[in-house]
Every structure is written in C-alpha cells, then in structure tokens.
C-alpha cells in the first residue's frame, strides 16, 4: 500500500498511457485501429534504433533492412510452412536479433561514420536483394499474409465492452500493443540497469568505459543484437498488420522515417520512441489528408505535396531538431518541466541565477 502511495508521478503517467492504449480501439473505427497499430509497430522499431543510437552511440541508417528480414521471416514461415502467425513473431525476432548480433561484430571495427555509411548502403541495396530469390520471397509481387481471426475469448470480451464484433484489425492492434508493452518494459529495465549504464558509458567515452572494466566489444554487439531484435519484431508485426509485404514496403525512406522518429521523440529516452513514432507515422498521413482539403491551394501544389511533402517536412524537421533541440520532444518537455518547477520553487543556480543547459546526448 505504501509502495503505491509513494510511487513517483511518472508511474501514474505510464499507467494512464497504458489504459489509454488499451481502451482506444473501443472508441475508434477498425480502420483507425489498424493505423494506430502501425504507429505502435513503428514505435517498437524506433525503440530498437533508440537503444542502438541513443544508448550505445552507434548510428544505423539501415534498420529498415532488419525490419524487412523480420517481416519476410514471418511471412515465409506462414506462407510456405503454414505456421501459426503468432508463433512466427518470436522466431522472426530472434533470427533478426542473431543477424544483427553478427552484423555488430564487423561493425565494431568501424568508426561511427563508417558504420552509418555501411548501414545506409545496406538500406539502399536491400530491396533489390529481396527481389532476387523470387521463389522464396515472391520477388516483386511480394507475399500475401492472411490476417488471423480473433480468438473467441477476445471476441467476447470486446463485444461485452463495445457491443460490436471484433475485427481482425482490432485483434492485431492488441497483439501489437502487447508486444510493445513487453518490449518497452524490457527497454526500460535495460536502460536502468547494468547493460544500459554500460552502453551509455561506452557512448560517452569508450576509453574511459574500457578502463572501468566494461566489456566494450561485448556491449556494443549486444546493443546491435537487441536493436535488431526489436526491428525484427516490428517487421513481423508490420507484415501481419498490412497483410501484404513486397520489396517496396522497405525502401530507404523507411529507415529515414525510423531515424526521424527516434530523433524527434528524443534519443536515449523511453517515452521518446512512442512520441516520435506517432509523429513520424501520422505526419505524412495527416498532411496528405489536410493539404488536398484546402481549396485555396492551387491544384498543382496539392498533387505534388502528396509525393514530396513527407520528404520535405522530414528533412526540415531533422535539421531543425538536431540544431535546436537535440534531445527531441522528451528533452523539450524535460527542460520545460525543470524550468517551470524551478520558477515555482525559485531554485535556480545560486551563483548566476541561470538554469544549467541540457546535456546533449548525441
């Protein structure tokens, strides 16, 4: 009882967010639930990227390729080997994690710059690599993934709350949410405990970390493996949620979208990936709905905005955030909170009367 009373306010916030996401599909349409499921999937992948970039300080621009690996593993297992989809999610995650771990070994020898280069090349090449074994991956045509029907228990519970039957989109939303909750909880634990602290130490000073007895190579490859594990899970869920994957599902722009989400939300933070994912997922969708509805804009502009809008806005946002708020939305909220808190209590720096600047994480 006393543990509940003394819980810090942010625990209550987490509880509120979880309840919100649990209840959300009961009040929105099945189509919107599917969109939100994809936003959550993006959040999982971004959390993976966040562990790699934010906590361990290695930049990957090719996480779309890891998502593709997860997605194709699941889709092939379901399509060719008739496995149950739910079983393939952990298989895809573990396989992708292993591949990521192996990728992390040569990555150890690379400077951050070279690693960015190699992973970017991987992201550009991966669609054409996927196309090649056409018998396995379906080539350009891609693979259809049958969406599962919700089990009876879930269907009855959902009908009890909303009075309408549960669609498979809503069921997939809950599968996704479950995975996201588990993975975010794991990431939170990772960040607070020994591995997370070791990774941050490596990020902030590799030599000092090694001198303190941290296994630098081990933790760096571990970060790569974990990060790929998250991306693989996200890819597998993405295949389930969209019901169809092809090489064009995983273009370079997907990797850029992940990076945008990670940077906008805030690197090296736990809520950051969720906020960043919601932003990066809904920005192009909403702008594509909003711009054509503006009748005062000339026809020519509305048609080009549909194609070029996301790229332009992503680019501008990436640059502006890195220039002015390198810790993203979470960093802004945190400084805002600290500032307000100090104003209220009148506790600024006693010497200068100024509030110390935010530390830069990347």
């Amino acid at each position: 009882m006393s543990r509940i009373r003394t819980a810090p306010p942010r625990y209550w916030l987490v509880l509120l967010v979880v309840i919100f996401f649990l209840g959300f599909p009961t009040v929105i349409s099945s189509f919107l639930a599917s969109e939100w499921a994809q936003a959550i999937i993006l959040a999982i992948a971004i959390m993976g990227l966040n562990i790699l970039v934010g906590y361990s300080g290695q930049l990957s621009l090719g996480h779309g390729a890891f998502m593709a690996l997860g997605a194709y593993t699941s889709a092939i297992l379901v399509h060719h080997y008739k496995m149950d989809y739910l079983v393939t999610i952990p298989i895809a995650a573990v396989l992708t994690g292993l591949v990521g771990f192996l990728f992390g070994v040569p990555a150890l020898r690379l400077s951050p710059l070279y690693l960015a280069l190699a992973t970017f090349a991987l992201a550009v090449v991966s669609p054409s690599l996927i196309k090649r074994p056409a018998g396995l991956t379906g080539g350009v045509q891609g693979i259809l993934v049958l969406q599962p029907d919700p089990p009876d228990v879930a269907r009855e519970a959902f009908a009890f709350v909303t009075g309408t039957a549960m669609t498979s989109d809503q069921w997939i939303y809950y599968i996704t949410l479950f995975c996201a909750l588990v993975l975010f909880w794991l990431a939170w634990n990772l960040a607070r405990h020994r591995p997370g602290r070791a990774m941050r130490a490596i990020r902030d000073g590799e030599v000092a970390a090694a001198a303190s007895g941290i296994n630098v190579a081990g933790f760096k490859t571990l970060a790569f493996g974990i990060s790929a594990f998250y991306a693989g899970t996200a890819g597998s869920l993405l295949a389930l949620s969209t019901g169809f994957i092809s090489p064009d599902t995983f273009p370079v722009s997907l990797s850029i979208q992940l990076l945008v989400g990670a940077v906008v939300g805030g690197l090296a933070s736990i809520p950051g990936p969720l906020l960043g994912a919601i932003f990066a997922y809904f920005l192009p969708i909403e702008s594509n709905q909003w711009v054509p509805s503006q009748t005062w804009l000339p026809e020519q502009i509305t048609s080009t905005v549909k194609n070029a809008g996301p790229a332009v806005s992503y680019g501008i946002i990436l640059i502006l955030i890195m220039m002015f708020a390198p810790n993203g939305i979470v960093g802004l909220i945190r400084t805002g909170y600290v500032t307000v808190n100090r104003r209220l209590r009148g506790a600024s720096d006693p010497q200068t009367g100024q509030i110390p600047p935010d530390t830069q994480t990347v």
């Binding site: 710059l113 990076l259 990436l318 890195m322 830069q360």
Partner: protein, 293 residues
Amino acid sequence: MQEFLQLVVSGIATGGIFASLALALVLIYNAMGLVNFAQGEMAMLATFVAYSLINRGMSFWIAFPVTLVLAFGGGVVIQRLVIRPVERAPVLALVIITLGLATLVNGLAGFIWGYVPRSFASPFSPDSVDLAGVFVSYRDLGVIAVSGLVLLAVYLLLQRTTVGLTLRAAAHHPEASRLLGVQVSWMLALGWGLASAVGAVSGMMAAPILLLEPNMMQAIIIYAFAAAVLGGIESPLGAVVGGLIVGVTVNLAGAYLPGVGGDLQLAVGLAIIIAVLILKPNGLFGRAAIRRV
C-alpha cells in the same frame, strides 16, 4: 577479349562519374571529418537546374559552367545556413543533419520537377569510334574527358594556388590557420561550394545515361561511397582511383558474374564498402588512423 576491353572502357567512363562524386565527398571529409550524405542529392538538384536552363534554350556548353557556378553558390549557402551553426556538434548529429538535408533536397526536387523520369540530352554524339578494334562510344569518351578535366582542375586548384593552400591548411590545422589569419569558417564554406560543384559534374554526366529524376543519384552515391572508402576517404587521388576501380569492377561483375545484373549491381557497391572496411579500413591511399587516448 574485345568485349572485355569494351566493358573496361565503359567502366572507366562510369568510374569517372563515381570519381567526381567521391572526390566531392572527400573534399568535405577533409574539411570537417564528415561524410556528406546529401552530396548525391545536391548533385541531382544541380542537374535539374542544368536541365531547366537547357530547356529554356541554352546550349549544354553554356549551361554547364553556369550550373557549376550556381552549384558552388548553393554549396556555400548550405554551409552557411545549415552546417555552420552546428560545426561543433558531435559527428553523429552532423551525419543526421546531412541526411535531413538529403531528404529535404530530394523532396524539394520532387516538389518542383515531379517524379516522372525525364531524358537529359547528352552533349556527345551516340556514335562509336573504332580504337584498335575496341568500339568506344563518343559518349563514354566525352564523360572520361570531362571528368578528367574537372579532376585535373581540382588538383591544380588545391595544389598549385594560394586558395588551395589555404583551404588545405584550414582543413588540416584549423587552430594554426586561424592564428595565421586564415578565415577558417569561410574556407569551410569554400570547400562545400567546391564539393558541390564537383558533385554537380557527376550529376550532369550521369543524367544522360540514367534518366533524370529525384532518386537518380541514390545508386551513384553508394558507388561513390564505395569509391571514397576504397581510396581511403581522405585522399583526393584515392577517390579518383577508387572511382575508376569501382566503375570497372561493377561493369565487369554485371557482365560476367552469374546472377549479378540489373539492380543487383548495387550489391557489388555494398560488398566493396564492407570488404574494404573489414579488410583494409584505411583504403588504398589513406593514412592509418591514430587515436590519441
């Protein structure tokens, strides 16, 4: 044998395109220890500018230098507006910013010119000439000549002029140069302008071969990365040699290796990058990196 030589010659021509872009990457790497992910997109934008100029009735050989000047100005402006405020930021932040720049420029080009591929008329005749039994197209010869001239010009500028000397000094020893009265920040802007112009050459040479569209340089930038890494990312000579090697290798691999054709040629670029980084991280001409602890 004849076919082999023909492939080698056309490989050298594409290699010249890669070499120009790789040289642009090396110029910026030398100036600030940063790989500019936006280099290819900047070249693509310059090529679109050239396309518009030619479409307005300008001849290619007037549009070419005009575009180079505009690209130079554009590079300087980008450095002043976007890069200078974050000069001291960690390298990861800078990489993310250049990536944002790449996305932005790509989107802008799509916004202005759309995503429909356009043909970009080559200034060279499509005929071939018989050189000792090897048929070489005038296009390939033209690309080789233009790339060669540009690379020579950059070499002369860097090695034989005062501006080049100051540029190199500012890149290698910013503190000492500043003490000697070199305006380091403006030298960096000059470096960006120069890189942008050199990259624009590769864009204008590539456009007649590929079709002009906003994603045109996406493949070429990978080959240019491969070339720059192979040459040891800080050596201009290495970038040129690397570019030629990558061009010829990719062409030969596409023709002779089973299964490597069409868009899988790009995988050869990735393979070169990874192989060099693992086997010989300093490339052919790079100095061994010394880390002070």
